[in-house]
Assembly symmetry: C2
Homo-oligomer: 353 residues x 2
């Protein structure tokens, strides 16, 4: 367990000054105080002292999980994998919701200080990672692993699927079922670094690869909820005579379910008139009518792998040599929302394939 | 802030012994140690010491939320209310999942020791409260508020809806739409103290009150998932010729959505052939096809009221005079899954009403 001596050595500051910084911080200048605090956190000094006070014998590891929306359907899926792995490794989980609208430098700082107050040893950060976090990432005193999102910093490993390839394969799947005029409901393209926006790139690459027709009216943009899917689909239906779409790829399952309902309300059938494929494979994909064909993200595995990696980082830091983005396999789960339209009369890929 | 003196006074033990119990617990007998620890927890000694070490100025309150399934749809709804109220009162939330299968004395002890390790000031316990918790409840050193479930102990307040009355009113609603042969999908009746089982009692009271026919085949039992609803409905459909049911009341929304799908797969229509009413008003009720008519539990208000009450308990304990079960208002949200069958030819309530 780290002592004041260890902190002094780590920070290159005298023992007397360290002691003063911890006990009478007002007597020490801000920079020195910060250096002492950084070293103390880095060496787990606070947690060890607390466990001493609490008279807790076993130093159980704790992982903080920072999540954009604890109420989102996909949180449940991810949490399920995380909690199973945490139980296996005998680790405490401490959850924190950092909503999209609070994704600022201050928002992340609040999350980190929550993590400190509740004695967390490492952090898993789930979802999109905005660039405003960069500055904080540079002077982190706690290990972080990313889930579903990525960051260019090689110091931070990420577990996710390759969103571009997965979207491309969703298009391949629709093509294999005879579809040729394929629409998409996407997040707005304002932030190309967003992993969910990448799904649009995969869609576009699929269209290019199979030489399928594309026009602006084939894509509608919106957020990722049921209502967003509903109104985006309305737009796609309005342009249907012109675009001739027979299938729609959506950036998320909830959007797909909203789109299906919109199609049904317009007096059309899913999948006989329009096929819909989602992205995620949330539990709602299995209870919608019709059940949703979708790209399954291995949420449970992503959560479990993240915990495994973090445990290694915390218990045998020297042994972790591989860093970077780890892509987990996805698959397409075929249910009821995509029809095969092999019999339609069109020349496949302009006869070039 | 509590000192060793305060603990000594509270526990009726000498200061020297308290100091020994905290610093060299092995030198003190078990009973004394336990008394000192109890007093120390009760007086928030550990948390205050930790905050001193952490150099945290503001003593931010922390509420632990113990929940049976963080991945359940209804968790999201409840969490949403809890988190809004927590933000309003500037309170930290620390979530813990205590699954139904671990609802034992040991399970609750693990939850409480997790709460202590992560410096929680009060606990909100959501869901059903089994009687195996009684013993622990008797010597609690931390305030607890119940959400959705109740406990006979008057020391512990609970926020929920009156499940029996709400179920009764669901039946009244179906009767007002002309239904007379009404089935139910219920949790098994093995534990009558379970609040969800109470919904069966409300159903039965409704049938009695309106003098509606009842037979064993009108009720099917199962757990609360989509698949459970599906197979329970299969059973009700098999007995339909005999029972003549035109409507089904289900103990939970997910069950209702499974039941609707079963009806549709049997070639029947919801609501034209069979009406379905759920219980909960989860977000999935709004994305099912047809959208689900259901008894809305005010999850957000339940969560928010719980936080408000807990905050009062923690900050001005003397001011909390009202204790007991607080019933919040529910309402029936009419969507698309219940039809009016006024025109059917039967004599309403045997002509007696």
């Amino acid at each position: 367990m780290a002592t004041i001596n260890d902190i002094a050595k780590y920070a290159g500051i005298s023992i007397a000054t360290v002691s003063r910084a911890l006990n009478k911080p007002e007597l020490v200048n801000a920079e020195t105080r910060e250096r002492v605090m950084y070293a103390a956190r880095k060496l787990n000094y606070f947690k060890n002292e607390t466990l001493k006070i609490l008279n807790v014998k076993s130093n159980k590891l704790s992982i903080g999980v920072i999540f954009p929306y604890i109420t989102a359907y996909y949180f449940s899926e991810l949490y399920s994998g995380i909690s199973k792995a945490a139980k296996l490794h005998d680790i405490d989980l401490v959850l924190y919701e950092l909503r999209s609208e609070n994704m600022s430098k201050e928002g992340l700082e609040d999350a980190l200080s929550f993590a400190r107050r509740h004695l967390v040893d490492g952090i898993m950060l789930a979802g999109y990672v905005p660039s405003v976090y960069d500055e904080i990432f540079e002077s982190l005193d706690i290990p972080v692993v990313l889930l579903l999102g990525t960051h260019e910093s090689a110091k931070m490993s990420a577990y996710k699927v390759d969103d571009i390839r997965a979207a491309f394969d969703a298009i391949s799947f629709l093509v294999s079922r005879g579809h040729r005029n394929i629409g998409m409901i996407s997040l707005p393209l304002t932030d190309p670094a967003n992993d969910i926006v990448s799904r649009f790139m995969g869609y576009k690459q699929g269209l290019d690869f199979y030489k399928l027709p594309f026009s602006e009216e084939m894509v509608a943009y919106g957020k990722l909820g049921f209502d967003d899917g509903y109104s985006a689909m309305k737009q796609l239906l309005a342009a249907r005579e012109k675009t001739g779409i027979t299938a729609v790829f959506t950036a998320a399952d909830e959007v797909a379910i909203g789109a299906m309902r919109c199609i049904q309300d317009a007096g059309l059938r899913v999948p006989q008139d329009i096929s819909v494929i989602g992205f995620g494979n949330l539990s709602i994909a299995n209870i919608s009518s019709p059940k949703l064909t979708t790209v399954a993200q291995p949420f449970e595995d992503i959560g479990a792998e993240g915990v495994k990696y973090m445990t290694k980082l915390l218990t045998e830091p020297g042994s972790v040599v591989e860093r970077g983005n780890f892509y987990l396999p996805y698959k397409i789960i075929e249910r009821e929302s995509v029809a095969a339209i092999m019999n339609r009369s069109f020349s496949y890929c302009d006869g070039k394939v």
